[in-house]
């Protein structure tokens, strides 16, 4: 649960409160709370922990991290079965 993963903001829902957006983590897309990075724009990268964007990142370093995470199987670990299972159990899918 300590992992914070970089992802690209692909959509922002301005009407959501708290501010919410769709973030792409190397192909896996998840909703994340953007309230702590309120001026982020679509196309920018953020670092996400337990569903919250905590900081913005530059594209180059975000992509490098994502590639490494994918090679190491960390994305699957973070967003794989446990997530599906979690979402299913929580009834929020």
């Amino acid at each position: 649960m300590c992992l914070a993963v970089p992802g690209k903001v692909v959509a922002i829902d301005d009407s959501a409160d708290p501010l919410t957006g769709l973030v792409d983590f190397g192909g896996v897309q998840k909703q994340a709370c953007l309230e702590y990075v309120p001026d982020v724009r679509v196309g920018e990268y953020v670092i996400v922990h337990v569903g919250f964007a905590l900081q913005r990142l530059d594209e180059e370093s975000a992509l490098a991290s994502l590639q490494l995470f994918e090679e190491l199987g960390l994305l699957e670990e973070e967003f794989g079965d446990a997530w599906e299972q979690a979402a299913k159990e929580a009834g929020t899918t």
């Binding site: 300590c2 702590y36 569903g51 900081q55």
Partner: protein, 380 residues
């Protein structure tokens, strides 16, 4: 150097290692604070790639590992109640309390659910107005903004059936406790990058001054860790002790002010017990008076539960960097990720589990590592 090819840039890794080797003229002991860094260090064999003079001591920075036994027992008590939906990060399910864990409570009919984000728990509270939804709010400064937002939203939405069992911990008082312990060998710190993404670095100059230790804000990828070590060793060799940011892509000096404001609105500083270490003054957060109504400990009247920790587990010494996991007699014999005696064996960020997964099983490839991790996945 069998692990080097796993780095995303093996050449840069080699250069960093060469520089560390060239810089270190005498023995230095560094502590990495965060469990995510411990995991990465053991997984990539960074401690084995380093020159002999540079020793890494694994710190207490895994929130799952330091959550005290009595809080786990409170969680088990609350999760057993028929009216409760108990929500937790997956890592907590198999942390042993007294005699059982949350996974077992679920097996016995308790409604225990794994969530990815505290907002998922909030959503459950909205959908099940007839149930009490309790979220197990553990974590360091990195997780606090998320948990603070959940309870802030609960109040705004008038969700009276939502509450938090809070066991939040803070890094700076833990650093102070480590440095003032009589057996302390730590000479420099790799500070946890994502904690600083939230809090910034304002709390650290006081610590570097007082204890004359360098603190280098460090990321989690193998190259980040090597760079953090390189800078810490360079400071030590020069006789310096300052705060340095080796992870500027995710850390600004001021941190994330909006997140800090939310933490300060919802939480207040309190003393906290750390599993295996004991009470550390001002080392945690609890809900502030304005949000006390959302405190599950009061709502379910479990404040009286007190538990002593078992003697055979040496995780306290592991968490303070006094022994390595492999020096514990139970390691890999009576204590494994399947049958953990202590919390440091449960979470993959705990030092004991990291050693078990990547050292004992010698599984440097992602595939083998994944197979080993499946052993730890409680929901699969």
């Amino acid at each position: 150097m069998k692990y080097l090819d796993e780095f995303n840039d093996p050449d840069l890794a080699r250069r960093l290692l060469d520089e560390i080797r060239a810089t270190a003229t005498r023995p230095w002991a560094l502590m990495e604070v965060c469990g995510g860094q411990t995991h990465s260090i053991i997984r990539h064999g960074i401690d084995q790639l380093l020159p002999e003079q540079v020793e890494l001591i694994h710190g207490p920075g895994c929130p799952v590992c330091v959550t005290p036994l009595e809080v786990i027992d409170k969680a088990l008590e609350i999760a057993s109640r028929p009216e409760v939906i108990f929500c937790s990060f997956g890592d907590m399910l198999r942390v042993p309390g007294t005699g059982r864990d949350l996974f077992r409570v679920k097996g016995e009919g308790g409604d225990v659910r794994v969530v990815y984000s505290p907002l998922d728990a909030l959503e459950l509270a909205r959908r099940h107005p007839d149930r009490e939804v309790v979220f197990f709010a553990i974590g360091f400064e990195t997780t606090a903004p998320a948990n603070a937002m959940a309870v802030h939203q609960a109040r705004r939405l008038g969700l009276g059936n939502f509450s938090l069992l809070v066991s939040h911990v803070r890094v700076p008082p833990a650093v102070e406790a480590i440095m003032t312990a009589p057996q302390c060998r730590v000479q420099g710190f790799l500070a946890a990058g994502h904690v600083c993404s939230v809090m910034g670095t304002a709390e650290y100059p006081e610590l570097t001054e007082r204890f004359k230790v360098p603190m280098v804000v460090t990321g989690f990828e193998p190259l980040d860790i090597l760079e953090g070590i390189r800078r810490a060793v360079r400071q030590l060799e020069r006789g310096e002790h300052k705060v340095e940011n080796a992870y500027p892509r995710a850390v600004r000096e001021e941190g994330n002010p909006a997140a800090v404001r939310m933490i300060e609105e919802v939480f207040e500083v309190t003393d906290r017990n750390w599993r295996g270490i004991g009470r550390i003054p001002a080392s945690g957060w609890r809900l502030s008076d304005a949000f006390r109504a959302y405190d599950a400990e009061h709502r379910f009247d479990v404040t009286g539960i007190r538990t002593e920790e078992p003697a055979e587990c040496r995780s306290g010494e592991v968490l303070q960097g006094l022994i390595r996991p492999t020096e514990c007699a139970a390691f890999g014999t009576t204590c494994t990720p399947r049958t953990p005696l202590g919390a440091t064996m449960v979470s993959s960020e705990g030092a004991c589990a990291a050693y078990y997964l990547y050292r004992r099983m010698n599984a440097p490839t992602p595939q083998a590592g994944r197979a080993a991790r499946e052993e730890m996945n409680p929901v699969a």
